[in-house]
Symmetry: C2
Amino acid sequence: MRFSYQRQKIREIVHNTNSHPTADWVYLEVKKSIPNISLGTVYRNLKQLEEFGDVKTIYDGNIARYDWNTDPHNHLKCKNCGDLIDIVISDKAMYPKIKKDFKFSVDRVEMLIIGTCKKHA
Amino acid sequence: MRFSYQRQKIREIVHNTNSHPTADWVYLEVKKSIPNISLGTVYRNLKQLEEFGDVKTIYDGNIARYDWNTDPHNHLKCKNCGDLIDIVISDKAMYPKIKKDFKFSVDRVEMLIIGTCKKHA
DNA sequence: AACAATAATAGGAATGATTACTATTTATAG
DNA sequence: CTATAAATAGTAATCATTCCTATTATTGTT
């Protein structure tokens, strides 16, 4: 993978926001410094960055969001404001039981915890 | 909500399959008995059935699937064949800690457990 | 510095899932 | 039987994402 200014900017933007942005949001953001960048470039680079292990894709309902935090973690989703909050939950404890009951080897657990955040208590 | 033959058939189909079908699969299936049904009718009715509490929508990556099983449960997803297997996991134990650490009230937990099923061990 | 090879881009067209629109049909209360 | 409004079929529109292609830019080699 060789250098590109576009990819560098895209990476920078994802790594400098905690709001789990969509591809479209990243596109609008990167447009500020590279006005004629194309949406396809954003998608292509986000995919490449994911393959490179530099960002992680998370699915929020049926829309993809991107996360700079590639450590295993999950999300709290507020049903009022839609905000996603990072949370680390060790789910390893359930692996043996799933193996035993279903003969299913777990790779990872994607968890979305839906509820109400403190701003809307 | 008044009676419609189409909705009755759609409900019947979802309730008689364990394979967590997509809207398109339901459409192809219901076409067998109602050849000129439209895809829009399928989507509209699946949504109504969900509001009525008769089916549940689950998101598998970025595609919606429908589940007759409306009891709280989660899914194992095989990364080889894509099959979804129902599993009941009591996640209530983590609610108090999330409340304490994040002041976040949990409604429900959507969990997708990715790995390898027994057919591909 | 110039050159060649080819990865990456911009811009736009294409795709796939889903929703919206509208004239017509159908269920049902009176 | 009739009026009213809900539901439908068929189609157009939308939204997120991917694909295509001629052009541009990076990088290893002279």
